[in-house]
């Protein structure tokens, strides 16, 4: 792997919070340009912390973050909640990053229209966030992150609060966009099925302290149609990941006793 197609590398990264919690210990992770990587793990394993460190929100205690040579690293972050400004219309929410960057007006108008078209929200420019459903709010949040033409999307459990149907629809839409735009995506989730459906590669993390326990490439061609979700290949990847998670969620003490059933583990994660 030459450094040209590396998006970023985290080496020996540790993060300890001021209350003494070790969020991450000795984490190594390389993400390639154009890759769709999911960070999968139980809550408290530091997957969101990784994302925040990459975004530059917060300092790592030790270790370093290196960006690839050819990478512009223009980032966009999508939070767990839509994080919209309730006092602003959809249009004004999407406009925010451009306004902060001081972009000129005619360009702004076009960029907003394009971003809203990408997430299928034309006609809702003048709506206020409270008038929208959870899924639509998330679309606005995604449009806001796309409006700056980023080359990397950092997504922190963006669809975690949505119902299953909305989630799978947004998953397909996200994959379509990813194929059009050739972004690098780092996607945090605790949902195995979502991780397998979306990713090139799933990085499994364990908690206390947060660390990488498995790095599993998902070797299935894109575009992934809905029937991929029911294919044997999909099922076998899900099984592989849930095994990795089962190992990850067992503390050393539990390892000495009888292993928990896979079903329990999946439940505790979902």
């Amino acid at each position: 792997m030459t450094s040209a197609n590396v998006a970023f590398t985290l080496s020996n990264v540790s993060k300890t919070y001021s209350n003494g919690t070790i969020a991450l210990q000795d984490l190594n992770l390389t993400v390639k340009d154009g890759e769709f990587v999911s960070l999968l793990g139980p809550s408290g394993c530091g997957k969101s912390t990784v994302l925040r460190l990459v975004a530059g929100l917060g300092q790592m205690s030790t270790g370093q973050l290196e960006w690839g040579d050819a990478f512009r690293h223009k980032l966009a972050f999508v939070f767990q909640e839509a994080a919209l400004m309730p006092w602003a219309t959809v249009e004004d929410n999407v406009r925010l990053p451009l306004k902060l960057a001081g972009m000129s007006k005619p360009l702004v108008k076009q960029a907003i229209a394009e971003a809203l078209a990408l997430v299928d929200l034309q006609g809702f420019e003048k709506s206020y966030p409270r008038e929208l459903s959870g899924g639509m709010k998330m679309r606005v949040s995604i449009a806001r992150s796309l409006v700056t033409h980023p080359d990397m999307l950092l997504m922190d459990e963006p669809f975690g609060a949505l119902d299953e149907m909305t989630r799978s629809r947004l998953n397909s839409d996200l994959l379509n966009l990813w194929q059009q735009k050739l972004w690098t995506v780092v996607f945090v989730t605790h949902n195995i099925y979502e991780a397998v459906y979306l990713s090139n590669r799933v990085v499994v993390m364990a908690a206390r302290p947060g660390r990488v326990v498995a790095d599993i490439p998902i070797d299935a061609p894109y575009p992934r149609e809905d029937n991929f979700r029911t294919s044997p290949l999909f099922t076998s990847y899900c099984r592989q990941l849930s095994d990795a998670l089962a190992e990850a969620t067992q503390s050393p003490a539990e390892l000495s006793t009888e292993p928990r059933s896979r079903y329990d583990v999946v439940n505790s994660i979902a």
């Binding site: 530059g56 767990q80 400004m85 902060l100 809702f124 709506s127 629809r169």
Partner: protein
């Protein structure tokens, strides 16, 4: 996707006509006036006034002890020429002090959120301003102001200062709370897009603080009026620029109790009007997004 969008657009279309339909109905205002929210308190008020009037008449209570409501209204009309100009003076004091409190409260709150150190160092003194009894320090303020300002203006300035002291703190403390209540995800987002201090203040902290600020205004508006009246009581000033408190004071000295009641009524109505205007302003500014101004739809 198209299907979903179709549904969404449909539901949107169906909500729009009902909104515009509501606005077009002229009977909406009438229906509002006839609603229990309006009728019930009016009924209570009328009942109390009736009992009062009949009670005064039946027991033969002399007007210098307790005048009936009808006498108060008649006095209000006959004394309008002296009472109304006085009320205007008091309202002038109130409004100048209130505007001063708004400007200074907002400015100091912004200063506080720019540096934790400034807030730590100065906030206790702002609290002191609030806890000092205004009636106790009003004479002192009047005395000091007379050293600096000459003539009639001195009284006006000292009354404004007293009313300002009372009205300042609720605005300061509410606005400070509001400026610190910005959503953490949005603060992160602003940091991510390299927003500077001014942009974060202008586009995030100030709008987040707006509901809190307006809540502070509603408290302070009434307090400014009370502050002005109390200070005037203490000052006890006559002359050409005497306010409504002076009229209340003089009427009670001269046992013109109906006139005193009339002046009291004017003051109370003014206080209610200030509160109503500020409530309307708050609902108007927050109508699109804040829970306080939105009707529940279930």
């Amino acid at each position: 996707m198209t299907n979903l969008l179709g549904n969404l657009t449909n539901s949107r279309r169906s909500t729009n006509p009902s909104k515009s339909g509501q606005a077009k109905q002229p009977s909406g205002v009438l229906a509002k006036l006839l609603s229990p929210d309006v009728l019930a308190p009016i009924a209570v008020g009328v009942l109390v006034l009736l009992i009062w009037e009949i009670g005064v008449w039946a027991t033969g209570t002399p007007p210098y002890l307790l005048p009936g409501p009808s006498l108060v209204i008649r006095t209000l009309i006959s004394e309008w020429g002296t009472l109304f100009p006085s009320l205007m003076i008091t309202l002038q004091v109130t409004i100048v002090a209130f505007i001063g409190a708004i400007v200074s409260g907002l400015a100091v709150a912004i200063l506080f959120t720019q540096s934790k150190w400034i807030e730590r160092s100065f906030f206790p003194y702002a609290v002191m301003l609030q806890t000092t009894p205004i009636a106790a320090i009003a004479p002192l303020i009047i005395l000091w102001v007379r050293q600096v300002v000459e003539g009639d203006q001195a009284t006006f300035v000292s009354l404004v200062i007293c009313a300002w002291i009372v009205a300042f703190f609720p605005i300061l403390s509410n606005t400070t709370l509001g400026l610190n209540s910005a959503d953490h995800n949005l603060l992160n987002l602003f940091q991510l897009y390299h927003a500077n201090r001014w942009q974060t203040l202008r586009y995030l902290r100030l709008p987040s603080a707006l509901p809190y600020f307006l809540g502070g205004l509603r408290i302070s508006g009434g307090l400014a009026l009370i502050g002005a009246v109390v200070a005037e009581f203490v000052a006890g000033t006559g002359g050409t620029r005497s306010g409504i408190a002076y009229q209340i004071l003089m009427a009670s000295f001269n046992l013109q109790i109906p006139k005193m009641f009339a002046a009291l009524l004017m003051t109370t109505v003014s206080g209610i009007a200030i509160f109503a205007i500020l409530t309307w302003l708050s609902d108007f500014l927050l109508r699109h997004w804040h829970e306080s101004a939105i009707k529940r739809e279930n």
